[in-house]
Symmetry: C2
Subunit: 213 residues, 2 copies
Amino acid sequence: MAVRVDLNISLDGYATTTDQTPEKPFGEDWGRLVSAYTATRTFRQRVFGKTDGSGTTGMDDKYATAYFEAVGAEIMGAGMFGLHNFPDDSNWRGWWGDAPPFHCPVFVLSHTERAPIRFDNGTVFHFLSASPTEVLGMAKAEAGDQDVRIGGGPTTVRTFLKAGLVDRLHVGITPIILGQGINLWDDLRGLEAGYTVTSETADTGIVHLTFAR
Amino acid sequence: MAVRVDLNISLDGYATTTDQTPEKPFGEDWGRLVSAYTATRTFRQRVFGKTDGSGTTGMDDKYATAYFEAVGAEIMGAGMFGLHNFPDDSNWRGWWGDAPPFHCPVFVLSHTERAPIRFDNGTVFHFLSASPTEVLGMAKAEAGDQDVRIGGGPTTVRTFLKAGLVDRLHVGITPIILGQGINLWDDLRGLEAGYTVTSETADTGIVHLTFAR
């Protein structure tokens, strides 16, 4: 088993977008940042439930397939779950509707105590305030032989990277310049030490770069 | 002819290094940032005068060859020439010794008037205070059918990119995180508009990414 990260980032390192407006609640940047990923056959099948075989099947789909494989537990920050957007809504169940595409225990780092939320598809959100090492211990116990993913957001990912807890970091780099948001690479000088870095380029222009140890 | 840029940058976008010390006047980061480029057969031949055929011959060498082709004039900032390091040395002739590897007119943007410096190999440094559009007009007149390169540093390159004056931007991205220096991508949100972006990956791990219009 490995502790892994998979993120889509812009060429200038941003993993979040900040162009949301009341009229366009998701903005336009996010769609551009993840467009090659959401166009894959695997994403369309796994997240949208499309079983018609539509979607791209090239290198981006190869990484999308790997994305969904062998994850036995996930860790995410409170912001990724939506607790910063809806801090007072105790009924908030995340962004993902009735079938969150995790199918495993998800540990949400939060200073607010909440009861676990269970879904029929195996997704269970647990809320806890713990150190990276502590929550990773719990996630590994749940994951068994499978991987633990640090899902995001980028601030949470950086915390685990800085603590030396990540075995494999895969970024899909979209060649656009966002210029604002949270930058994955901030404060990670020398990250490459101890990792082997490989990269591949998809026809879509996405650069898939992997730090592995 | 085209107005072009070729730069080596880190994965987090830095095109300069800042780890110089009195004991290590070039630092260690710079060598790591450009190591795949300086290892090429073309670089060794063109810059070091090595004619023994040593050096790498893969994709990095293909880009190194392109780097030296068809440049009829170059524009650089005062910092790249060294005027910020040696502001009071009126005899300073640049970092490149008796045979600077330009072989063409080089326009150095500087607020200090200096007489041109001419070398036997065709390199001539001109010093002038002018707007990007003005200096580009002069450089194009010198270059004729050949390209004009905006050589650096990154702040000068950014100025020309922001002004929409660059036809082709090639970056060789070295998969290291520097975390400090001058970031090429700062303040360039939306740069990709109007460009087609292509990328290739070398066995060395370098990602060659080109914005072209």
